[in-house]
Symmetry: C3
Subunit: 129 residues, 3 copies
C-alpha cells in the first residue's frame, strides 16, 4: 500500500489527486490491473469527475450543499453531520484500471479527494486491487 | 467468497457489519490486499461512515429521507422506489484494504449495511478483490 | 481489459448492460474472482439496481432530476452540470463477484450504464479486479 497526504484549506474543497495517485501506482510497481483508491475518513470522500473546467467541481460542491445543507437539522453533537452524509454520497473507495503502468482514465476524468469538513490534513491509501 | 446474513428490524436501519466483514477476511485466509464487500440486493446498500456516535448514521438516515421522501411520487408499483433510489446512492459494492489479515480502516470508520426496505434478512458477500 | 460501446437515445437513460458485462467476463476468461466495471466519462455513471420492472429505473431517473434539477443554478459554462453531479452520485466504478465464469449478482440485480447527458455513444471498460 502507498499512502500520501493532502492538506485542504476550506470547509469544502475538491482536490485533484490524479497525479498523486499516478505516483502511487509507480511506487507500487503496478503495470497492469486495477488500482484501489481509499480515503480513511468519514467526513471526506473520493470521486471521479471533470478535471478541465474548475467550474464543474464548484457546481458539484454547491449542488451537494443544496441537497445536504450544513445547517441541518441534525442529532450528531459535533455539528458536522452534513459532511458525513456527503462522504457517504461520494464514497470512500473507488477503483481505476491501470495499463502499461499508467492510470487508464477517460479523457476528461480526474480523481478528486472531496473535503467536506476542512481545513484538515487528509490521507489517501492506494493499493493494488 | 464468504457470505453472511443480517436481519434488520426497521424499514430503514444502518447495521455495523465491520466485525462480520473482519470474520469473513479471516475465513477467506486473506492476509494482504483488498477485500470486496457486496450486497446482492436492490433496496439495501453498503457504506462506510463513523462507528463511534450512533447519531451520525441516524443523521445520514434522516438526510436520505429528506432527499428521497418515501411518499414519492413514484411509478414503480411496489411503493418502495425510495429504497431503490437510496440503494443506488449508497452503492452495492465497496473495497477495503487488508494488512496482516486485518481490515485497514480509518480510526473512525465502520462498514454499514444500509437497510432501506426492512425489516428483512439480507446477505453480504465478501471476496478477495 | 475488455471494452464495449453503448449508444444512448435520450438525455437521461438507464441502459441494462448486464449481458454485455457477462460477455466481457467471458472474453477475459475470468472464472473466479471479482470483475471491475468502469465508465470513462464524467456525465455518465454505473449502478446496480432492479432489472425486472422498468418503473424502478424510471423512478431513479426522476428522483435524481428532483434532487439535481437540470436548470441549476450552475457556474460551469456548458450547462450540463446536473449530469456531472449525477455521475458522481452514481459513481464511475463498481465491482461484482464472479463464480464459475458467471457474474454473481442478486436475483433482482442488473448493472446499468447511467446516461445523464445524452444522446451519446459511451464506453464501458471491464477488467479483472
Amino acid at each position: 500500500m502507498h499512502a500520501f497526504r493532502v492538506t485542504t484549506e476550506r470547509r469544502t474543497q475538491f482536490v485533484d489527486i490524479t497525479s498523486r495517485v499516478q505516483g502511487a501506482v509507480e511506487s507500487l510497481g503496478l503495470r497492469e490491473g486495477v488500482v484501489h483508491v481509499f480515503v480513511p475518513h468519514t467526513t471526506a470522500g473520493v470521486t471521479i469527475n471533470e478535471g478541465a473546467d474548475p467550474g464543474v467541481v464548484a457546481d458539484l460542491d454547491a449542488a451537494l450543499e443544496r441537497m445536504v445543507p450544513w445547517a441541518g437539522p441534525w442529532r450528531h453533537g459535533e455539528g458536522n453531520s452534513a459532511a458525513h452524509v456527503k462522504a457517504s454520497l461520494m464514497g470512500a473507495s473507488l477503483c481505476v484500471p491501470v495499463e502499461g503502468g499508467r492510470l487508464r482514465l477517460g479523457v476528461w476524468q480526474a480523481i478528486y479527494l472531496c473535503e467536506f469538513d476542512g481545513p484538515r490534513t487528509r490521507e489517501v491509501w492506494v493499493s493494488k486491487a
